[in-house]
Symmetry: C2
Subunit: 324 residues, 2 copies
């Protein structure tokens, strides 16, 4: 069994990389851009290159499913790059392939707000995928950069699923039927996602959880079982959204970037502006075993549990990370 | 036999790519930066990506010797990226690895002028490799980005050869003993280059040739024979510096960049400011056969001729394009 977490944005450190090994985590899709322009995002890859150089026994850069398998054999955690926002491609479609050459494998078309490509889930009006968005989806399909609609609005997400010739992903979100939140997804979106071979990664970020930080493992796994019924067990995995050890200034950067001079609290509030507490059964990378056990307790077979814990993502990587 | 030209900067077009195929050219090291900063250089790779997409039967991007072999099998010309100046890494050593990730395989430490790394061949004083230069050479050695000293001054070049743990290249220049020019190289440099496993690519740019545009094939091949005696036949190849179809504004950009408000004529003069006429026996990529025949006539064996025409570069690529 491979354990794959398809979204984290921790305050990376040797401690966290060691916890990944301790938890048997074979691959993590890490966010390398929220609001960065191209050159700033490149500086973030430079920082990752220093970590790869400093901790070669713990982590390595992965561009493919086979890189993940190699990492597992070598006892390392494979790191896959992704953007939560298309800001690194600026207004330049040629940067899609450049980013792919640098190893980027997921890109959200929007992060909460309207982008050049589509509408985010916090906008009052959702005008769908834009002219440039259509062109960029085609280019992403061509080179093997996966469309991610985690923070996008409903119509834009359905547009992207319909426009993309290859399966897309919602790397970190949960179903609205379980906990209605701006960031969680409707049955219509999840059904369309599954029908087109796409993947949903279940989020453990408390703002996406029923009862937030008090969410129980049982409730979480029961939700996964209902989502499997809706989408098919082969189209679901994990995307924890773990933001371990980040100072609260980082969640402010995520929400505010440089687009406003005001504070925007996003999923939080003035009274609870910072990162919420993670559930006690999922504090860090050492706790994926709890989820696997919870899935078995919720009635999933051993094979189904393996599929959800990582094999589904691995198969998705094999199919979608290289040129069409 | 592989035919490899280890330096060109043409005004690229389908016509030229077809001439490469007609001439049986298996690989070309192309310049993608003279004075560009990082983001501008990336735009040049974007342009190459469009050519790869538009002419997939003629050319493909190569990152390794094996990519060159694959290209030959597929009947395409492999394109290898390089910089004539370290301007794309700006003042940021982390960009060395980023450029390597983008497929760049050669970088000159200087282009005529003083750079952050070393001294160019047009400076009055040659202060050798700088503090940052030493660090960047180490980093280039680590990732597999080849040091190129074609436009560097004597002491800086000898420094680079001594400081580099891996062989370096002078991708396009000729020996001073044949034609003394600022851009041509001393016996001391060539001997040190050969002794450390480095490579010299012979230039066909008329300003580097004895009798310039009137240089004869016999004189050129006789010069190669004398250089083989000096350096060893396994350390020489071609780096034509072919600038086919370029308007004269481009040679001005090469010489002047943005570093002066005056016109600098470099190897030319006010009376002859533009690109010089190529010798009649080497007008474009269809004429490598003339050189191979000239080498046989100058006394090189079939194997030696193959080595000079491309096998030496291919072996050099195998050894020096990947992480140490």
């Amino acid at each position: 069994m491979h354990i794959i977490d398809n979204l984290q944005y921790a305050n990376w450190s040797e401690k966290i990389f060691k916890q990944m090994r301790e938890g048997g985590v074979d691959a993590v899709h890490v966010t390398i851009a929220y609001h960065e322009i191209f050159r700033e995002m490149v500086a973030n890859i430079e920082q990752w290159n220093r970590w790869f150089e400093s901790f070669p026994d713990l982590i390595c850069h992965a561009r493919s499913g086979d890189d993940v398998r190699r990492a597992k054999r070598d006892g390392r955690t494979a790191i896959i790059f992704g953007f939560q926002n298309p800001s690194p491609i600026e207004d330049d479609i040629g940067l899609v392939e450049i980013c792919h050459m640098l190893g980027v494998r997921f890109m959200q078309l929007t992060y909460n707000n309207q982008s050049l490509l589509a509408t985010g889930c916090y906008e009052a009006e959702d005008s769908g995928v834009t002219r440039m968005g259509r062109e960029v989806i085609k280019e992403m399909n061509r080179v093997g950069l996966v469309v991610d609609m985690s923070h996008s609005a409903e119509r834009s997400t359905l547009d992207a699923i319909a426009l993309s010739d290859r399966p897309i992903a919602i790397t970190h979100a949960n179903p609205n039927f379980w906990y209605p939140a701006k960031r969680n997804k409707s049955d219509a979106v999840l059904r369309a996602l599954g029908e087109t071979g796409g993947m949903l990664g279940f989020s453990l970020y408390p703002h996406h959880l029923k009862d937030k930080s008090q969410c129980t493992l049982e409730s979480f796994c029961e939700m996964i079982a209902r989502t499997a019924d809706l989408m098919g067990v082969q189209h679901i995995g994990l995307g924890s959204d773990l933001c371990q050890d980040q100072p609260d200034s980082v969640v402010e950067w995520m929400r505010v970037g440089r687009w406003t001079k005001q504070i925007d609290y996003g999923e939080g509030s003035a009274a609870h502006a910072g990162f919420p507490e993670m559930p006690d059964w999922f504090q860090d990378n050492r706790h994926f075993g709890n989820i696997a056990a919870g899935l078995r307790a919720a009635g999933f077979s051993k094979d189904e549990t393996s599929a959800i814990m990582g094999e589904n993502w691995l198969r998705f990587y094999d199919a979608n990370f290289t040129a069409a």
